[in-house]
């Protein structure tokens, strides 16, 4: 006897199940997922601090106080001070603001652009796809960090420049993912049905393609944010990207490098923040994937 597992009733009639459980269920599961919770526990405080930094009672991050140079952590300066006597706690939170903003923006821009490009390439196929894929391949043939470095070296230093550079570096990845996603669902029965019914293309794209490809992108979004923050830190660390006095985690770490031996806290604190925050984002991504990914769902059902 052949063991043919019948396709569950639910999946056959409701195509959305192939791309995850029904909406209301998702939120419920998300909140219940251990990793998502852990991720949120880490990410939310950082984001909150970063968002509300201007109205919180921190010392001004660029206020120098030469008498206090390089003091170690103490009650008045919980994270110590740097070479100009600036309070490191306040600089680290200010740095969080910039780093997180760069990460979120770069991820958002690259995913949006990537979804656009990938959808066009995947849906229309033919020569459009060939050209777009060829261009994507050109960019994908090169490690992302190096693209970022090259662009930043040319654009010059600054926050907007690095957002642009990282966005450009990540867009091809997002585009490729989206294209694969669109390709896989292009020929589903309901898509055929929609085309048969002579639905206009833009309607098909908006009503079917985009909503069904958004969920994998959410997971990717979290990872892209983490990667973008890490790349910004690395680029700022090489001296390009964000330069003093603008505090970003990367530029603060670089600033502390010269005094690593005697004032290790200057580099260490933002480094730890960076790592912990990225861990939080990865947990979030991992947990979300567990909830959304249908194969995991099916496995649980066995």
């Amino acid at each position: 006897m052949t063991a043919i597992v019948p396709v569950p009733e639910q999946v056959r009639t409701n195509p959305r199940s192939l791309h995850g459980p029904p909406r209301f269920d998702v939120v419920h599961r998300l909140v219940a997922n251990r990793r998502v919770i852990a991720g949120l526990v880490i990410v939310v405080p950082f984001v909150a601090l970063a968002l509300f930094f201007p109205v919180l009672p921190f010392r001004p991050p660029n206020a120098s106080s030469l008498g206090d140079r390089l003091s170690s952590p103490s009650l008045s300066h919980p994270f110590g001070t740097d070479t100009l006597g600036r309070d490191q706690l306040s600089r680290t939170v200010a740095g969080a603001r910039i780093s997180i903003m760069v990460g979120v923006l770069a991820a958002a821009i690259s995913i949006s652009l990537g979804m656009l490009i990938g959808t066009v390439a995947g849906y229309f196929g033919g020569w459009v796809d060939s050209i777009v894929s060829a261009v994507l391949n050109v960019f994908l043939s090169f490690p992302g960090l190096l693209i970022g470095l090259l662009l930043v070296a040319v654009f010059g230093p600054g926050v907007w420049q690095i957002v642009a550079a990282v966005s450009i570096a990540f867009t091809p990845r997002a585009a490729r993912l989206q294209r694969a996603s669109v390709l896989s669902m292009r020929n589903r029965p309901y898509m055929d049905a929609a085309r048969q019914a002579a639905a206009p293309t833009w309607w098909i794209l908006l009503r079917h393609v985009v909503p069904n490809t958004v969920s994998p992108m959410l997971v990717v979004g979290s990872i892209f944010t983490a990667d973008a923050i890490l790349i910004e830190a690395t680029i700022s660390f090489t001296g390009l990207g964000i330069v003093p006095p603008t505090p970003s985690w990367g530029s603060i770490i670089k600033g502390g490098q010269a005094v690593l031996r005697e004032a290790w806290w200057i580099s260490l604190v933002p480094a730890m923040c960076l790592i912990v925050f990225a861990i939080g984002l990865h947990l979030l991504a991992d947990g979300t994937r567990q909830v959304i990914d249908p194969s995991e769902q099916l496995e649980k059902q066995r």
Binding site: R34, A38, N62, S64, L66, L70, S72, T83, L84, A153, V154, F155, G156, P157, G158, G239, L240, V243, P244, P245, S251, Q257, A258, V259, L260, R261, E262, W264, W265, L268, A271, M272, I275, V276, I279
Partner: protein, 543 residues
């Protein structure tokens, strides 16, 4: 299910990294209190017990020095940066050289004289001087060849401008050279001095090696180039035993490029180098000094701030310029931030020049006066200015302090940070309101002409402040034909006084270079051009 028990373990594993980092930090913290520990791999140790070198010479006289960047070319036509200059100084000679005060002394020329109107210069050359690698004896033909190739537009040397006024070079006999100039030049000796384009090359070698000469130079100096490994960044100078002058004690000088300052300092402390050329960073230098290194140093150049009235019309008003100078407390900045390096500078010229004078107006910190001047100039409501910043340094601590101080006078300073390459270009084009420059030439005519002559406005010239004062222009041009040293000094003194009164450029501080060296190495002071004469270096016995 298994998940419950496991998540605790998972959480603990994630904590491992922060804990590990914390432990490392603790190690870092405790060890920093005693900076002499941890150098277990060092060949030497430095500490309070070491005072003066014992006087005994080490068996192996090899100096290992760190270069900050790779020399691009050792062809005198293109030697323009410290790394190449250091090597060129020991490989070549010029007709004359500078002593410690910047006065001219004989080098390959034993004596010289000029005619009345300074248009004809005759040099008697040293005899029996040998070139490296068996390229024969040095003669006047080599002098003629060396300088004519600098003039050659096909060579496109950076220093062609130094020989612009040379009409012809004649060699009546193998040991005499006569230069005929197109106009009087009291400072002609600078052009044939042992620096940059003034170095003499072997005609035979250049003709034989062609393009390869710049990596296999042949000169008459106390050392010859034995290795030029650009790929590894490794260069070796070896003692030239047929040198015409005082022979070196050192057998070899091994120069390695380490462009990262931190890594260089670490390597120096670990004993991988005896000498670290151009180590920067005040904290790093302070620590090296505390650890007992000899801080060989020289004020190489002068940092000045250029105010461009074309970009910001406020700078056309002399009161505004004076106000800015009065509003910044340079002394505090220098003492607190740059304590290692610098002296406050009150003159746009570097103090190393013989023509330098201190008899110029000084601008002390006086914010009251500054505010008053601004008010008189019509900027009682404030003034906005923009400073161009080089991306590799970023906005430095001193820039931030200056910004704070200016703010107290009602001047809002904005920063515009651009990438290194763009910074150089914009400065070159004159596309800035405020930018800094360093002044470091030994030839005072070059400095005052490039900074103050109306023919030298950017783009194309270095007169970034677009300064034009007919009185000064006249003095500059006249000084070129003055022979009497006292008269010369008086004229340049007058120029300095007028310019410091007009203040198109605000002097900030001197720029030193530091060459921290292990204390068992006997090493002289840096030369007047901030280079080093390796013939005066010897390695003592290390402890």
């Amino acid at each position: 299910m298994k998940h419950h028990a496991a998540s605790g373990r998972v959480a603990r594993r994630w904590l491992a990294v922060p804990i590990a980092l914390g432990l490392l930090a603790a190690i870092g913290g405790s060890a920093s209190a005693d900076s002499t520990t941890g150098r277990s791999s060092a060949n030497y140790s430095v500490g309070a017990s070491d005072t003066t070198p014992s006087g005994e010479l080490a068996e192996e006289q090899v100096l290992r020095a760190r270069l900050a960047a790779a020399p691009r070319s050792l062809d005198p036509a293109f030697v323009d940066r410290l790394d190449a200059e250091v090597m060129a100084y020991n490989i070549y000679n010029g007709l004359v050289d500078y002593d410690d005060e910047g006065a001219f002394v004989p080098d390959l020329a034993e004596s010289w004289e000029s005619n009345e109107d300074l248009t004809e210069w005759t040099f008697q050359l040293r005899q029996g001087v040998q070139f490296h690698n068996g390229y024969g004896e040095f003669t006047s033909a080599d002098v003629k060849f060396s300088y004519e190739r600098i003039q050659d537009p096909d060579i496109a040397s950076f220093f062609a401008i130094d020989f612009e006024n040379v009409g012809s070079i004649d060699t009546p006999d193998p040991y005499t050279v006569v230069f005929t100039l197109t106009e009087p030049d009291a400072l002609f000796l600078h052009s044939v001095a042992h620096f940059h384009g003034g170095d003499i090359v072997s005609q035979a070698a250049v003709e034989e090696l062609g393009d390869e000469f710049e990596a296999s130079p042949v000169g008459t100096g106390p050392f010859f180039l034995e290795t030029f490994d650009a790929g590894q960044g490794f260069y070796v100078l070896e003692r030239f035993d047929e040198y015409w002058g005082e022979p070196a004690t050192l057998e070899r000088v091994e120069l390695t490029v380490v462009d990262d300052n931190e890594a260089a300092a670490i390597a120096l402390e670990n004993g991988e180098f005896e000498m670290g050329i151009d180590i920067t960073g005040d904290d790093r230098l302070a620590q090296l000094e505390a650890d007992g290194f000899q801080m060989i140093t020289r004020a190489r150049s002068n940092l000045i701030t250029m105010l461009n009235p074309e970009a910001n019309p406020a700078f056309a008003d002399v009161r505004v310029r004076h106000a800015i100078a009065h509003c910044i407390d340079f002394t505090t900045i220098i003492e607190d931030l740059l304590s290692f390096r610098e002296a406050r500078s009150y003159n746009f010229l570097p103090p190393t020049l013989p023509e330098y004078t201190d008899d110029v107006p000084h601008y002390e910190y006086d914010p009251e006066l500054g505010r008053q001047l601004l008010e008189e100039a019509g900027y009682a409501d404030g003034l906005v200015v923009k400073r161009l910043i080089r991306g590799s340094d970023g906005v430095e601590d001193r820039d931030l302090l200056e910004q704070e101080m200016l703010a107290e006078c009602g001047i809002t300073e904005e920063f515009e940070t651009v990438e290194v390459s763009e910074f150089s270009e914009r400065r070159f084009q004159g596309d800035f309101e405020i930018a800094t420059r360093s002044v470091n030439e030994p030839n005072i005519d070059f400095i005052v002409t490039s900074l103050l002559h109306p023919d030298q406005f950017p783009p194309g010239g270095l007169n970034g402040a677009q300064y034009s004062n007919p009185e000064v222009t006249a003095l500059i041009e006249e000084a070129r034909s003055v022979t009497d040293p006292d008269e010369l000094k008086a004229m340049y003194g007058e120029i300095q006084r007028i310019v410091m009164e007009d203040l198109p450029y605000i002097p900030e501080n001197t720029l030193r270079q530091f060459w921290p060296t292990w204390d068992h190495v006997d090493v002289p002071e840096l030369t007047v051009l901030a280079s080093m004469d390796f013939t005066l270096v010897s390695i003592g016995v290390a402890d």
